[in-house]
Amino acid sequence: MAPSAEELLRRNTVGINKETVSNVASTDFPGHFPGEDHAFSIERFRSAFSVQFHRNELNDASFSLIGIDASLANAFRRILIAEIPTLAIEDVYIENNTSVIQDEVLAHRLGLIPFNGGRDGIHNFLKWYKKPEAGEDPYANSFDWNTVRLELNVTCTVNPDAAPNENDPLKAYNHAHVYAKDIVFVPTGRQVEYFSGDNAIVPVNPDILIAKLRPKQTINLAMHMHKGIGADHSKFSPVATASYRLLPLIHITKPIIGPDAEKFQRCFPQGVIGLEKVTREEASKSGSGYEGHAGEFKAVVKDSMKDTVSREALRHPEFEGKVKLGRRRDHFIFSIESTGQWDSDELFLEAVKHLKLKCKKLEQQVINMVQ
């Protein structure tokens, strides 16, 4: 006794009402519906699951995972944010800093700058760095395969070519602003093989402002970069944002015609609701709600994915009982914005790899437990 398509849609829809949400918990697990088999099987998952890409750029990818449970989708999101390793500035050795920005604030700002470099070097050559214990030599664990050295040496001077009454500090002085592009990468050991030419380690965005200087002020420091994960510090997080939302559903239950249709269209973001003319055929059918409205505009759902689910349509009395809002429970629209060290789509694959590895580890533990 398989449930009807209508029943399946009802089960799969989170209801969005005027002030509440309903039907929020998923019910597709064994034993919930008597006589139905909801046991997880890889074949069933494979046949129901699909991925659709909406946008795939280097720093911004958007795609849909359809037919997946919220627990898995959320696991991917959390792995993206907190568990994929990146390279970031970890130690700052300040020789001199006479700028107005304090040493510790400067160090913190430097740590947050995203860097990019040869992917092979960053992903395969560079390994984890282990912090030396207290009392140990502080550089005992620093090698070319886990530490990247950067330097920043800037001194501000008066620009002799500037007009005497110049008010813009950028023109009156040299190096009035210290940017991320002023950071110099110093390759050590085998890093020359992996990080030379186009593969050099450089800031993703060269125009990040680090500090402002005035003549005679100077910043003179060296930095060590290490690999880390977002769970340790968010500067290691490979994503600017990684989030998902459920596919919005708009169901027009009774016809919305004429000026109401235009008002209905304005209740949603552009492109969500379209206006179509009521055909003579529809108008001639009795009981359709279109009788005598041939040639007038009616509201139709064009692209519900663009909806922000503001519920504005539910506020107006003329639409009461005519529209039902909802979200599809198993349709996740992911949006991943990389900070630049990984490609956005590559990041998702990496998250899948991480989850797989976790499952393998858990499987081994279960096996050990049974033995």
Binding site: A88, I89, E90, D91, V92, Y93, I94, E95, N96, N97, T98, D103, E104, A107, H108, L110, G111, L112, A134, K216, M223, H233, K235
Partner: protein
């Protein structure tokens, strides 16, 4: 250096504490460097003051003098 490891340098313990208080001004070192260099808060110039000199910048008569930053490297965690 973690805060817990820091020891307040005193004239008596200065020599015995070893590496931790290296560079701290112990009693005998203070006499040998009786001339100190400061930075004027008004004109930014270097001001050298001896023991009983008037606290003022000779160039601009500014009375706010800043101590010079340490010449040693300072390590920070970028966190």
């Amino acid at each position: 250096m973690p805060r817990e490891e820091y020891q307040v340098p005193t004239a008596g313990a200065g020599a015995s504490a070893g590496g931790m208080t290296r560079g701290a001004t112990g009693g005998e070192r203070h006499e040998s460097r009786s001339v100190m260099t400061y930075i004027c808060g008004d004109c930014g110039g270097n001001v050298t003051l001896s023991k009983d000199a008037l606290v003022a910048c000779p160039h601009c008569a500014g009375r706010v003098l800043y101590k010079e930053r340490t010449k040693r490297m300072v390590q920070f965690e970028a966190r």
